[in-house]
Amino acid sequence: MHYTIFYGLTIGAILYFISIGLSLTFGTMRVINFAHTITYTIGVYILITFVIFFKWSFPVGAVLAILAIIPIAYVIERFIIRRLYGDSLDYTFIATFAVALIGVDLIKWIWGPAPYPLSDPIGKYLILFDVSLPIYRVLMVISAILLFILLHLFFKMTIVGKIIIAALDDKDGVRCLGINVDKYFSLVFVMGSALAVLGGIFYAPISSIHPYMGLAILLLCFAVVIVGGMGNLKGTFLSAFALGMLMALTARYWPQGAETMVFIAMAVVLIFRPIDI
């Protein structure tokens, strides 16, 4: 049982990393960004390029992967999403889906369709409550909580964070204060993508890496965002860990049904709290 709880925390941490970007882009730009899958996947592939092919150390590869994703995310935001701003959201969705398709094919082109394995970069265990926990995963959970606190501080303390919160309320109001909102939205988008890559980097050693890995996780994160409330930072944090725990508990009794359970939870939430986008 201890292990199940810990496993739930691990999944929750990963879900949190990846869904925070989705939630923020929705909150600010009111766009569900399907291309999130692909920035995440590309980030992981860049990581394995450094770690597996160049044999560099894992942390260096991770940092380089996050840095590499920033211009890619910026280009997607600048040339696809911003151009469709104010248009029907269906078109934005189709366009970001198209970007995801192109990205998947690009990955297949460069790295090939076969999955890659990646081993735990630390490999040591911590014995706690009679369970041996991989230190790597403990680190993951700790960084998720740290990230939550950091984000909270970012939005509470920095002027940039405050401007983003203000823009969530009233975009035109911020514009009329002489602040170029689009610039901050780009920042949010890039930040969300970078965090997704961070999540991907944490997740990579415990999952298989293949071109379509982004889809399943995006759908789970979408469920997280719906349960937690779009654009709601605290809600996203709580729902990520709650659903992570749900997955872990389900997996204990019915290993194959873990994902299905998450979607059932999402459906239940939708019945009681319909949303309009």
């Binding site: 401007i163 203000a166 309320d169 009233d170 109001g173 009329c176 204060l177 002489g178 602040i179 170029n180």
Partner: protein
């Protein structure tokens, strides 16, 4: 200082403003009155750059500004206070002012001093979430926020709409104290306020500029206006 010539603006399919011309001189407080749906708000939004005119020109200090974005106009000294009394509800009053101070590059304490000088009571709720303020307090916060930096021209949309009489008194007081400091173009329906504060009045009717009343001493002019409203 600001000169609008032959402005045409459409909102979707409907043409809202037809051939509107108007000018504001430095230091003047000009009021824009007219019925609901006459196009007053549209005119303000066009000046501040939230809407694009189809035809005509807006000239400020000798430069054409009709294609500039609100962000650029802010730096030129334009300040817009919208009709909806939208403050940044999830931030505190202080943070609301902070954002404005950041945008104009003014130190926070200077901005605060400016606002407390027109409305000292604001000190009491600096730490309150702006979303919890009453309508009047919101309006005062918005006007105060607009004073941050170096405002040259205030564009205020219906400052007293939906407010209680006491609060209206307060706003009249604030606007009065701003006179001569900045120029202002204010949309208003409350004629007693208009009469008290205005240097000039423009009457907008069905998207067309109907008449201009030069001075407030022209009592009969204002009497007439009531018929239009």
């Amino acid at each position: 200082m600001l000169e609008i010539r032959n402005l045409d603006v459409s909102y979707g399919y409907a043409k809202v403003l037809h051939d509107v011309s108007l000018n504001i001189k430095t230091g003047e407080m000009v009021f824009l009155i007219g019925r609901n749906g006459a196009g007053k708000t549209t005119l303000l939004k066009t000046i501040i750059g939230l809407l694009q005119p189809q035809k005509g020109s807006i000239v400020y200090a000798g430069k054409e500004i009709s294609n500039l974005s609100p962000e650029r106009l802010y730096l030129q000294g334009f300040r817009y206070v919208g009709q909806e009394k939208k403050v940044f509800g999830n931030l505190t009053v202080q943070e609301n002012i902070e954002i404005a101070a950041f945008a104009s590059g003014e130190p926070m304490d200077v901005s605060l001093k400016k606002i407390t000088s027109i409305y000292p009571k604001i000190k009491d709720f600096l730490k309150t979430k702006a979303g919890q303020l009453s309508g009047g307090q919101r309006q005062i916060l918005l006007v105060g926020r607009a004073l941050v930096g170096e405002p040259k021209l205030l564009l205020i949309d219906e400052p007293t709409q939906g407010l209680a009489a006491i609060v209206i008194e307060e706003i009249i007081h604030i606007l009065d104290s701003l006179k001569k400091q900045v120029s202002a173009l204010i949309v208003e329906q409350n004629l007693s306020l208009v009469k008290q504060l205005s240097d000039r009045i423009f009457l907008l009717k069905e998207g067309k500029m109907v008449r201009e009343i030069i001075s407030k001493s022209e009592e009969s002019g204002i009497q007439d206006l009531e018929g239009y409203l």
